[in-house]
């Protein structure tokens, strides 16, 4: 299964969601590869992969060592492929020009090549070239906040058939978000992910510990939310193990 996760705008927490979903699926016994397509290269920090390591798929592509070599094994069944921001910084202009993520990832059938049950892409929200990668995914999550800015942006957003709007940072106490959710439930009924992720400070604190909250705070509500999202993903594949 190929999953793409993309923010509706910056700062909605798409990278944390990608990290936590990958982690939850691996806890459920699936083999998972999570790929960071963001040049900011933050995903690695969720899995305690330091910037000092220059590795990353972009770096590998540029120096012709191939992206395979740059995969980190976090657990027996969880693999992380960072962007390699600091590695890229060491390159010259010619090498830089050879990095073309959108072409690379939309033409490579990673699932078939690697044999991982799940490949999760953390897609940058501001690079429209990844549209074809997202369109080819089995599941495409568009992460949004249930607030007015997201409401307006979402209204102008071309939602594809396979795109599910996933609400992150849902604040239960706010009447506004409840109202937005009620509206979206009707407006985007088919395109709304069945569960959402509630606002939980555990997620932020977990990043300070360089771990996904789903592992570092197993009693947190975000763990419960991600578990139900991951279960839904498994159901989408058609096999629940």
């Amino acid at each position: 299964m190929q999953v793409t996760i993309c923010g509706l705008r910056g700062g909605v927490g798409a990278t944390s969601v990608a990290a936590m979903l990958a982690d939850t699926l691996s806890i459920m016994g699936e083999t998972v590869l999570v790929v960071d397509l963001n040049p900011s290269d933050l995903l690695r920090l969720h899995f305690n992969v330091p910037y000092a390591d220059l590795n990353g798929w972009a770096f590998g592509e540029a120096n012709k060592s191939g992206w395979h070599q740059h995969t980190y094994k976090v657990k027996d069944n969880l693999y992380v492929l960072p962007y390699g921001r600091n590695g890229v910084a060491t390159l010259d202009a010619e090498q830089l020009a050879s990095i073309n993520g959108p072409v690379l990832w939309s033409t490579t059938d990673v699932v078939a090549m690697t044999g991982y049950a799940w490949v999760i892409f953390d897609v940058p929200h501001d690079l429209e070239q990844y549209a074809s990668l997202r369109a080819g995914s089995d599941l495409d999550f568009l992460v949004a906040h249930a607030d007015m800015a997201s409401h307006i942006l979402l209204g102008q957003y071309p939602l594809a058939e396979n795109t599910k709007v996933l609400v992150n940072h849902l604040n239960i106490k706010q009447r506004l978000s409840d109202a937005v959710m009620l509206d979206w439930n009707i407006r985007y009924a088919k395109n709304l992910a069945p569960s959402n992720i509630r606002k939980d400070l555990h997620v932020q604190e977990a990043l300070a510990h360089k771990m996904p909250a789903t592992t570092y705070f197993p009693d947190s509500s975000s763990k419960r939310d991600l578990s139900s999202l991951a279960t839904w993903c498994l159901v989408q594949r058609g096999t629940l193990t």
Partner: protein, 858 residues
């Protein structure tokens, strides 16, 4: 070295509460034993290991003064009395082998029956007709058999039955006969499915009919006027019970188990509904959750109108109705109580359907969607009734402490009887948790006002008018049970009186419009409430023999055993098979006994003067602040128990001095008295009111929930219980939470989530309590809808019930009865209570010397 060991031994002995001297002697003996006997070697150790379980009751508790004697007695028992199952005792071994082989065979047979017999029922050609049982007879008559074949067949069967019932048997023949029937029953009862219960019913009917025939033809002593008088009284009571038994079998033989009828997709075709909440003097806190839950009912908003019918005409209720945005209907006078209140509201509203909820019955959101479908499917349908479920313990459950462990008193009615009634289109209206068709109710002139049980009478009139009724056995509302025994009895007196009134003024056996089986169902419902006098007769009948030497059953003891016991055993077996899930065997005796004295008079009065009597509102939602013994309620039973104890003394005396040929009869009668005492003990136990101090009842549940602490961390947990004032939660990690912290509880309802502010009131072992803190009205509404009004809120209430096992149930009732007497002793006035306590202690002390006849193994 040795002094340390000795000191260790000594302190160990002291720890087991031995006195200093005893401990010294103990240590000394121990040292002595070790010196001469080498207790540490394997032979001694093996011996101890083998026999230790026999002494566990002594070794596992603290040392008591006379324990050496107890050890000695136990040892003597083990050495001299117990026949060890050694190979020397061939007879014993072979018997045991044969017995276990028999049990094995029975288990295999049961398994075989369970695995093979079911499809036979499923494949039966009548199956299709059974699936729609209302048309069962029609289907049989129209499609399969000509009427005259039926008549012929029926006559033949009736003839055979008559022969079977009236044929006099010798004692031996009767013995063989009952043994055979019992064997068949024992085999059949393990077979799953309805065939087996029908079979059991047939067996029980046969035995019981033979019994009652025998009682009428050969057990009355026409030579003695006193014998005849007492015998006739008892026989009348037995005839009543026999009729109720037979009618009960008819009523419950085939519960319909009606399923939900789906509503059409097009919401425009859904009817409009007036949801009425009649109230009189109940507290606003009782009313609020009901209204809040009604506001959340799944139904198009423009088609649902909620009304509070306030017969108390209270300003506070009016204000509340306005705030909550629901209708408020009052009337000038309080004529005809609840029925009058509803009739007045009928005039002021106009929706197609009328749903009625007592103000303490919190409806679940699914109520309308699950019930209304039947109105669209069946145009003649006037009523859909659903069960009354209670989330607080009734007096029986509270005082006998079995809330949530086994079915309560009204489980039989709502679990089985109503479902059985439904087959015959005779499901009753029960006053609440029901929905009626307005046009039907108006066509009979509104709710019946003539009796104090307007509900049953209204249903009777609807049936007479040709309307249908339905019963849906899904608990979709829950309320408060009556708070005290006296209130409970008061409620039952009202029902009993009302039923007797209907029996007189609008007898279901007479008049037009009812089918034969409808008449039977109504008749049985009314007969049920006449049980008071027969029950009292049973409780004192044996005394007629013991006190006055009157032969109330004029037959030899052996014949009595051969007729009475099979009759009772078969009735118990059959009832256990058909209603075991809704009422434990023997528990009905207690329920009936408690009510008997109090309903005896009102029902009799109502039978003769049906127009007497007033309506009393059942008090609910109250507290019992101190434990007390309800002497007023228990007095009749204490009196009856004393009579029976006297009877027992007379029995002993007559065994001592009476003629030998009477002894068997005396013993049988004494057994009867003992049984009466057991039942009365249970009734007395109910009168000891256990404290009930919580204003809000905690409802145990298992729901997902989350809490957010003050700094924004959110924890997932499980909601373990809730009330309208707070909740209990189980979290896997509560270290970060402190008492008095402010938190937000998050609950889910459908796709929406709601948060409720509260404070942590306790934090212990992963369980936290949250007390709500300034909930707004909207939050109160949301909370009720997230908890009480959930569609699945009451579906699993019987999750923890165990299966009914008649013998186990009898043991339970026995223990209950003993504890009833013990509690009675506790509450006696001072010198008596002291005396009783000492007496009980003395008995327990003497019993403690008895050696254990079985080893204790875990």
């Amino acid at each position: 070295m040795i002094p340390i060991l000795l000191r260790k031994q000594y302190s160990a002995a002291r720890r087991r509460h031995m006195g200093p001297i005893t401990a010294l002697i103990f240590v000394f003996l121990r040292v002595l034993a070790y010196t001469f006997l080498r207790l540490e070697n394997s032979a001694w150790q093996g011996l101890w290991q083998q026999y230790e379980p026999w002494f566990k009751h002594l070794t596992s508790r603290k040392y008591r003064t006379a324990d050496p004697l107890r050890y000695l007695l136990q040892a003597i028992f083990l050495v001299f009395v117990r026949t060890a199952p050694t190979e020397k005792n061939i007879l014993f071994v072979s018997f045991k082998k044969a017995w276990s082989a028999l049990l094995d065979q029975r288990n295999r047979l049961n398994k075989f029956l369970a695995s093979h017999a079911k499809p036979v029922v499923a494949k039966s050609p009548l199956r299709k007709a059974f699936r729609n049982p209302r048309h069962l007879f029609k289907a049989i008559i129209n499609k399969r058999l000509k009427i005259f074949v039926m008549v012929l067949f029926g006559t033949f069967i009736v003839f055979l039955m008559m022969l079977l019932v009236t044929q006099p048997f010798s004692l031996l023949a009767q013995f063989v006969f009952v043994l055979l029937l019992w064997a068949v029953a024992m085999v059949v009862r393990r077979v799953p499915g309805r065939f087996s219960s029908l079979m059991l019913i047939v067996l029980s009917l046969t035995i019981s009919a033979r019994y009652i025939w025998w009682r009428y033809t050969s057990t009355l002593n026409w030579n003695s006027k006193m014998d005849l008088a007492f015998g006739m009284i008892l026989l009348a009571a037995e005839t009543y019970s026999w009729i109720v038994l037979v009618l009960g079998y008819i009523q419950t033989a085939w519960p319909l188990n009606r399923k939900v009828a789906a509503l059409p997709q097009d919401r425009n075709t859904w009817p409009t509904v007036d949801l009425m909440i009649p109230t009189y003097n109940e507290d606003l806190n009782v009313l609020k959750p009901t209204v809040y839950a009604a506001l959340g009912m799944d139904w198009p908003t423009d088609k649902l109108r909620i009304h509070i019918l306030d017969d108390g005409r209270r300003e506070s209720v009016r204000e509340f109705a306005e705030q909550a945005g629901v209708g408020y209907i009052i009337r000038a006078n309080g004529m005809h109580a609840k029925a009058g209140n509803l009739n007045n509201a009928l005039k002021e509203t106009d929706a197609d359907l009328v749903a009625i909820f007592d103000c303490d019955h919190v409806p679940s959101r699914s109520f309308l969607q699950l019930t209304v479908g039947w109105f669209l499917r069946d145009k003649k349908l006037a009523l859909v009734q659903t069960p009354h479920h209670f989330f607080s313990p009734d007096p029986f459950e509270r005082n006998l402490n079995h809330f949530g462990k086994q079915p309560n008193e009204n489980a039989l009615f709502y679990g089985l009887i109503q479902d059985g009634n439904d087959l015959w289109n005779a499901a009753f209206f029960c006053g609440s948790c029901a929905i009626l068709k307005r046009s039907a109710v108006e066509s009979i002139g509104g709710f019946a006002v003539e009796t104090v049980t307007e509900d049953a009478h209204t249903a009777l009139r609807l049936h007479r008018k040709g309307y249908n009724s339905a019963y849906l056995r899904i608990p979709m509302a829950a309320g408060l049970a009556t708070e005290s025994l006296s209130a409970h009895i008061g409620q039952r007196i009202r029902w009993a009186r009302g039923m007797a009134q209907i029996f007189r003024t609008d007898n279901p056996l007479l008049g037009k419009g009812l089918g034969a089986f409808q008449r039977i169902c109504y008749l049985n419902a009314m007969m049920h409430f006449l049980a008071g006098i027969p029950r009292i007769i049973y409780l004192i009948a044996p005394l007629a023999f013991l006190f006055f030497h009157s032969y109330i059953i004029y037959a030899p003891a052996i014949a009595i055993m051969l007729y009475v016991l099979p009759h009772m055993i078969h009735a118990s077996l059959t009832n256990s098979a058909t209603q075991g899930a809704y009422r434990r065997t023997f528990w009905g005796e207690i329920y009936e006994t408690v009510l008997s004295w109090y309903i005896a008079r009102p029902t009799t009065v109502a039978l003769f003067f049906p127009n007497k009597g007033t309506f009393n509102v059942t008090a609910k939602g109250g507290l019992i602040e101190e434990e007390y013994f309800d002497w007023k309620m228990a007095n009749p039973y204490i009196f009856l128990a004393l009579l029976n104890i006297m009877g027992l003394w007379f029995g002993v005396w007559r065994l001592w001095v009476g003629p030998v040929n009477e002894q068997a009869t005396v013993i049988i009668t004494m057994l009867w008295v003992v049984y009466n005492l057991i039942v009365l003990g249970g009734a007395v136990g109910v009168a000891a009111e256990v404290r009930q101090t919580r204003q809000s009842h905690r409802i145990t549940t298992s729901l997902l929930g989350d809490i957010i602490d003050a700094s924004g961390y959110m924890y997932s947990g499980v909601l373990t219980d809730y009330s309208d004032a707070g909740v209990g939660m189980k979290l896997s990690n509560t270290t970060a939470l402190k008492e008095d912290d402010r938190v937000e509880l998050v609950l889910t309802r459908g796709a929406r989530q709601f948060s409720f502010p509260g404070r942590i009131s306790r934090n212990f072992d992963g369980n936290i309590g949250i007390h709500f803190y300034a909930l707004s009205q909207q939050q109160q509404i949301d909370f009720v809808q997230c908890t009480f009004a959930r569609a699945d809120a009451w579906l699993t209430h019987n999750r923890d019930f165990t299966l009914d096992r008649p013998m186990q149930s009898f043991v339970d009732v026995l223990l209950l009865s003993l504890s009833g007497y013990q509690r009675l002793a506790q509450y006696l006035p001072f010198p008596l209570s002291w005396l009783m306590e000492r007496l009980i202690q003395a008995v327990v002390w003497v019993l403690s010397f008895l050696p254990r006849i079985r080893p204790i193994v875990y």
